[in-house]
């Protein structure tokens, strides 16, 4: 059963990787944001991304940046988003009107 789930996830991940613009990075980003680590959690997210709407350029930019920061600051083993890496925290003068 575990192998079947893992293999299903593998196929879905390949479908996302070879599929439409932005979906694979959205999947990776949501796995990090929601701390999805188990096969079951990742399967749920992968299905949600495949069935979900298309990815805009703005969201793609956010996803790519989020994944990059997470892998630089948090490391892939740490499933939590890297809050200290947000641009607001790095540079408080960036934009003070957002909240």
């Amino acid at each position: 059963m575990n192998f079947i789930s893992w293999f299903r996830l593998f196929l879905l991940e390949q479908r996302l990787n070879f599929g439409a613009f932005g979906k694979y990075d959205r999947y990776r980003c949501w796995c990090l944001e929601r701390n999805g680590k188990t096969v079951a959690e990742k399967l749920h997210i992968a299905r949600e991304v495949i069935d979900g709407p298309g990815v805009s350029l703005a969201e793609s930019q956010h996803n790519v940046e989020f994944i990059r920061k997470h892998s630089v600051v948090g490391g892939k083993a740490n499933g939590r988003p890297a809050k200290d890496a947000s641009p607001m925290n790095r540079n408080p003068e960036l934009h003070g009107t957002g909240s």
């Binding site: 990787n17 694979y24 350029l57 703005a58 607001m88």
Partner: protein, 221 residues
């Protein structure tokens, strides 16, 4: 010449001018500026263009000046532990938007955020005179800094804007696959399989306007 005619001429000049488009995102800018679209990935091109026409109408009602550009982006994908890498591009017809007259930054930001909600958008690129960096204004959530440097797009910049009018892009603004077409047979097959066969041929340079991108300056990363 009437004021409205002068405004139309001014907007016409801006949409052709690379320097003016870039200047809107530089540090010494005096007016807020945003790039936004009504395009959504799951809709057809005709539906997206109809939504953009509605957005243009709303922008006029809000007394915001605008001109069209193409928002472009590309994501890098890989498989077999990075042995095979390929590019998936995307584009959205967008608008560069600025207030016609004097408008407080907060009012402009609120108007853009409202439009993002109305058109179901994730976010818009924005630069305010008081902020050092351009940033991604999200419909929900904190803004995300994108950098204070703006200039001609290079092949290292995955996200950029392309002017619709004016002279065509220099070769330095293009990606390698646009200049010569994809040559690697494995990548050609992946492009074909993904419905991107056009990437296997050199791009039609007569259809590519000049491009600019916003990036992080040294020390910002």
């Amino acid at each position: 010449m009437k004021f409205a005619e002068w405004l139309a001429l001014d907007a016409m000049a801006a949409r052709r001018s690379f320097a003016r488009s870039v200047g809107k995102f530089q540090l010494q800018t005096t007016k807020p500026v945003a790039i936004l679209t009504a395009f959504r990935g799951e809709r057809s091109l005709s539906d997206n263009r109809a939504a953009n026409a509605q957005l243009a109408n709303d922008l006029q009602q809000l007394n915001l000046g605008f001109y069209p550009v193409n928002g472009m982006g590309q994501e890098d994908h890989q498989t077999l532990f990075g042995l095979v890498q390929w590019v998936v591009p995307s584009s959205e017809e967008s608008f560069v938007v600025q207030p016609r007259g004097a408008m407080p930054e907060q009012a402009f930001e609120a108007a853009i955020r409202n439009l993002l909600h109305n058109y179901g958008q994730f976010g818009a690129m924005m630069k305010l005179p008081s902020s050092l960096q351009a940033f991604l204004l999200k419909a929900d959530g904190d803004p995300e800094g994108k950098g204070s440097e703006v200039g001609a797009r290079t092949s290292n910049d995955p996200y950029y804007s392309q002017l619709k009018s004016g002279p065509r892009a220099d070769a330095s603004m293009l990606s390698p696959w646009e200049i010569r077409g994809e040559l690697n047979p494995v990548k050609r097959a992946i492009n074909w399989w993904g419905g991107r066969s056009a990437m296997n041929q050199p791009a039609d340079r007569s259809k590519i306007g000049r491009r600019f991108s916003i990036r992080q300056a040294e020390g910002e990363a």
